[in-house]
Amino acid sequence: MSDVLSLIIAKYNYWLYVILMMIGLYGMIAKNNLIKKVVGMNIFQTAIILFYVSIGYKTNAGIPIITTADTAHGVVVKAADYINPLTSCLMLTAIVVSVATFGYAMALAVRIYQRYQTLEEDELRMRLSEE
């Protein structure tokens, strides 16, 4: 029992992201409303974004912007002094793209509502089989 507990404490960040990701996945699978499914997808994306950013974190390191002291010639920039810029950069674009895809999904939902007057999945299936 204490082994499991120490494992959780050592990797608690990953545990949080996995739980958040599973909340999103559950929303995508089990919810009946299309908007709720899209919100679940957004929670899923947020979990992945947090996961990436936490991978790039280093203890006792600063933000990935060079300090004025290090810009002088001859000063060697040490990788351990700055957090990983690569993961932040990947997620920076991912956030904006997720907003764009969310907007597109909302547009699709608006069209579906205009045509079928509902966003509930079972009612939609019923309407589709009636046609």
């Binding site: 494992l7 050592a10 990797k11 608690y12 960040n13 990953y14 545990w15 996995v18 739980i19 990701m21 599973m22 996945l25 559950y26 699978i29 089990a30 936490s54 991978i55 790039g56 974190y57 280093k58 203890t59 390191a61 933000i63 990935p64 912007i65 060079i66 290090d70 810009t71 060697v76 920039v77 040490k78 990788a79 351990a80 002094d81 700055y82 990983n84 810029p85 690569l86 993961t87 932040s88 950069c89 920076l92 674009t93 956030i95 904006v96 793209v97 907003v99 764009a100 895809t101 907007g103 597109y104 909302m106 547009a107 699709l108 608006v110 069209r111 205009q114």
Partner: protein, 274 residues
Amino acid sequence: MRILAFIVVCLTGAFLLYGTSEFPDWGDPNSPASLHVAAYYIEKTYEETHAPNFVTAVVTDYRGFDTMFETAVIFTAGIGCFLLLRDFRGKKEHYYHHIPTGVILHIKDEKKSLTIGKEFGYMDKEWVPPDLINKTVCRILIPFIQIYALYVVAHGDYSPGGGFQGGVIFGSSLILLAISYDLKTLVKRVSERLLGIFAALGVLIYAGTGVLCLVMGGNFLDYGVLAPLFPGMADHIRALGMLVVEIGVGIAVMAVMTIIYINIVSEGRHDEGL
């Protein structure tokens, strides 16, 4: 269905949690993700590009090709929203309100319309008079939000910021205008045509910078070869190239955010919304 979904989710979560035991510790400087190319970026970026912000340098220089297509994805999302929702049919009935008296006019003939001005104002079924406090506060705030957005774009390679962030801030200031006044105010000031042109122009600036580099004899998006165009800036030429590209990204993101908002709230009719 719910129980099945719960079981699937629990199983997937258990597998993922089992996998985390092999992951590097929180804040470990020697984790695999921080070793190879990331360490190179930190140590060499300032030497090679003279951009103090590593994230911007990686986004727009080392991974510039990737970011160009990210911008194209955003542009495509905006175009997709427009094509899905835009409805050019005018409304059959029009409502106006007479401003001095507050009388509401209902015109059923779709060919007739009143000029909007000091005497008559727009009106629709969900119309509520805009709140004076909201309007005044937003009117004062919006210019500052926009200046901040321009600052975030322009300082992208010196401080936290960049085209994506600045574009989103600028777009949200336009959305704030639409929320605090009404959608017609926004559409009248920033026309649909202008937004469409801006969205395309942003991607064009990005891709055009790449093509310009090709024309000058370098690789695609290799800003180093642009030095003859900016005499005396040879040291900072890569940072300048990044700035041009960031401006393109900012314009595209700003326009697309606004296009998506306008189309969704008015169901493509651009007349009434939140």
